[in-house]
């Protein structure tokens, strides 16, 4: 059984302007020790998906349907009491912006100890010792001094380390990282990503990594879910998604990013602008921007298709490709059969023999005629 099972999750925000369907039928599994990446641009519903798992949505947001199971236990509609035990204890989260997600009026120490005191039976002294241990684990120098300091006394990278220490203090089974390095510089980003990989090896937790940076995903994730406008486009292992994308949006994204090889070439952007979630189209949400869109894409949302056991995608192009492959196979078969039938009707060997015989006879007659002519001439 998977550690976390999300099935057909739908989350909407009920606003004055209407219902905003932020998440539309997302499903995935997460196993122990695995890293799952959720990729998409702003408004694709990747953050709302994980906020739904933890049920920390804004008041207007509601899980409309679907199921979230942690270790077999259903979390949707399980009640606030159960969720309080889950949050920060079994599943914890680090947010994008370490500048605003720490409380500026409490010391770092108080904030790390809060989660420990809330979820475990430890005394204040034990919690303090645990907090120091966590700060050492995430590579903060001089942790005892840092415990007494306030967030504003730390740099961005340091604050993100503190956030990670806080999230891991209760040894969660799952760590959710919501754009953990977007606000950080490249060299600091490398430090934090490496830290997360090391801690995962040491503590064995599963990670859900939300990001729009395909480079970060390529480096960190075993499995990837690609989202667009609240819908799930494609899901598969990192290798499958990067080397064998089966959704037009994923293909477009991979074509549009500059890489080491695109220097001096034109990029191939995805045309159009991001979609308005208030007016989702009836069919595939990506169809208005898709170069390969067909009539069916606008009429009907695609079903999820199994590409292989490591890869699933929701794109009509795969259905088309499959139908074309079937048609081609049928045609090839028909052609092969027709040729075989033709061979059976007039066996080629016999025809050749007849031709040879006729030719030999003609040649014989011609030579006879020639000798007759010569003899006549001499006479």
């Amino acid at each position: 059984m998977a550690l976390l099972e999300v099935r057909d999750l739908h989350t909407s925000f009920f606003t004055d302007a209407g219902e905003v369907k932020a998440v539309n039928g997302v499903s995935f599994n997460l196993d122990r020790g695995q890293t799952l990446g959720i990729v998409g641009e702003s408004g694709s519903g990747k953050s709302v998906t994980v906020y739904s798992i933890l049920q920390i949505l804004a008041p207007a947001g509601k899980i409309v349907s679907g199921s979230v199971k942690l270790d077999g236990q259903e979390l949707v509609n399980s009640g606030e009491k159960v969720m309080r035990d889950v949050r920060g204890n079994k599943i914890s989260i680090i947010f994008q912006d370490p500048m605003t997600s720490l409380n500026p009026t409490y010391t770092i120490g108080d904030q790390i100890m809060e989660a420990i005191l809330l979820h475990t039976d430890r005394t204040r002294e034990q919690a303090y010792a645990r907090a120091i241990e966590m700060l050492e684990l995430v590579g903060v120098n001089d942790p005892e001094k840092r415990m007494k300091q306030y967030p504003h006394e730390h740099s961005g990278g340091m604050r993100q380390r503190v956030m990670i220490a806080m999230a891991l203090a209760c040894e969660p089974d799952i760590l959710i990282a919501d754009e953990p390095t977007t606000a950080l510089d490249v060299t600091i980003q490398a430090q934090i990503l490496e830290l997360m990989q090391r801690l995962q090896k040491e503590l064995g937790m599963a990670i859900i990594m939300i990001t729009h940076d395909l480079g970060v995903v390529a480096q960190m994730c075993d499995e990837i879910v690609v989202m667009y406008a609240g819908s799930y486009c494609e899901r598969g292992t990192a290798e499958e998604i990067f080397y064998n994308p089966k959704h037009e949006y994923t293909k477009g994204l991979l074509r549009s990013i500059p890489t080491m090889d695109t220097m001096g070439q034109k990029l191939q952007p995805i045309t159009g602008t991001p979609i308005d979630l208030l007016n989702l189209p009836k069919g595939c949400p990506f169809a208005p921007r898709c170069d390969a869109a067909m009539k069916v894409c606008i009429r009907q949302a695609p079903e999820q298709m199994v590409i292989n056991e490591d890869h699933k995608a929701s794109c009509w192009m795969n259905v088309k490709a499959q139908m074309e492959a079937q048609a081609a196979a049928a045609q090839a078969e028909a052609q092969a059969e027709a040729e075989a039938a033709a061979r059976r009707a007039t066996p080629a060997g016999i025809v050749d023999e007849i031709v040879e015989e006729v030719e030999a006879e003609l040649a014989h007659k011609a030579s006879q005629a020639k000798t007759v002519e010569e003899e006549g001439g001499e006479a």
Binding site: E41, A190, V216, L253, P258, T259
Partner: protein
């Protein structure tokens, strides 16, 4: 690329310094050296990429060149003319403009698109009749791919990518030769970034523009730049051709920076050997003595603390500021 030796550069920056006073007490202040003795040249039609981490002074360089900040010291020479007096600055600003990072805060929410784009025309009195002004605005909107019917709308009605197009149309209004692009795509979604990057490329081809392209995304910079300059803590540490700096970085900071870029390819990314840096960037208020990078540099030794290494040309067009270039790279 044009011959470097004979041609006069379009933009020539010499020993540029920009210090901001930081109050430390009543009547007391110390200088924050945001840009400290930076020199470089940009040729006509070229794109110079400027990279570095936050707080390294790259944005300040862009703004000081345009004299949005009065330089503390040093010179900017544009097309052979030193920019010193108010008249120079006014002339310079009809030749050079800026595209800002954040398309949400750099457009006035109370102005319509046509007023935003028309404002530089008004300031520099670049039209003779109302009709001409309208015509120019529509031409500019067309050039950046905006619909003419959007002219009477307000900025909040547009998405990020379209707002950045409005910002670019505004910067093209004075028909400039030189544009400072300050992180123009970093606030945009991945799928929109490529559209805007391509537009910068096309505008350069059509109008012969020269760019100073400031960004922290090294893959974007590599894509668009002819040459790349790397800054650290107010100083320029390396400058070379785009391909050269990626294939043969010489400065230890550049090496680490390039190795830290996450490559969007799982096999390469996992095999990639990163060169980790310890710690954070020191505060520019108490920058280390000598080489600013020495506190995080794996190769630092005694002489690095004593003096700032000079910015030398080690091979054709490849400049680096490091005492130990030869030893590290042998």
């Amino acid at each position: 690329m044009a011959d470097t030796t004979t041609e006069t550069p379009l933009v020539d920056v010499r020993h540029l310094k920009e210090y901001f006073p930081v109050n430390t007490g009543f009547f007391k202040s110390i200088p924050l050296k945001a840009v400290d003795d930076v020199s470089f040249q940009i040729k006509r039609g070229e794109t110079l990429g400027l990279v570095g981490e936050s707080g390294c002074g790259k944005t300040t360089v862009g703004r000081t060149i345009l004299h949005l900040y009065e330089p503390t010291d040093g010179e900017v020479i544009y097309d052979g003319r030193p920019i010193k007096t108010k008249d120079d600055i006014k002339w310079f600003r009809t030749k050079s403009t800026m595209v800002f990072q954040d398309p949400y805060s750099s457009l006035n929410p109370r102005m319509t698109v046509s007023d935003i784009i028309g404002e530089p025309l008004d300031v520099h009195k670049m039209y003779s009749s109302h009709e001409e002004r309208e015509k120019k605005i529509l031409e500019l909107m067309d050039r950046v791919g905006l619909n003419s019917e959007h002219a009477s709308r307000y900025a909040h009605e547009f998405s990020g990518g379209q707002r950045q197009r409005i910002g670019i149309a505004r910067s093209l209004a004075v028909d400039p030769e030189f544009i400072v692009c300050d992180e123009p795509v970093s606030a945009l979604d991945v799928s929109i970034q490529a559209q805007v990057i391509n537009m910068f490329d096309e505008l350069q081809d059509q109008m012969g523009l020269t760019y100073l392209f400031i960004a922290h995304d090294l893959l974007v910079v590599r894509h668009i730049s002819d040459r790349i300059a790397v800054m650290y803590l107010g100083k320029m540490v390396e400058l070379a051709d785009a391909a050269e700096i990626y294939d043969h970085p010489l400065h230890p900071y550049t090496k680490s920076l390039i190795s830290a870029v996450p490559i969007p390819d799982p096999k390469i990314a996992r095999a990639n050997k990163r060169i980790p840096l310890q710690g954070d960037i020191p505060s520019p208020l108490n920058a280390p003595s000598g080489c600013p990078f020495r506190t995080r540099c794996p190769y630092a030794e005694a002489k690095c603390a004593e003096s700032m290494p000079s910015f030398d040309e080690v091979s054709s067009g490849h400049f680096v500021a490091c005492h130990r270039t030869a030893e590290i790279n042998s």
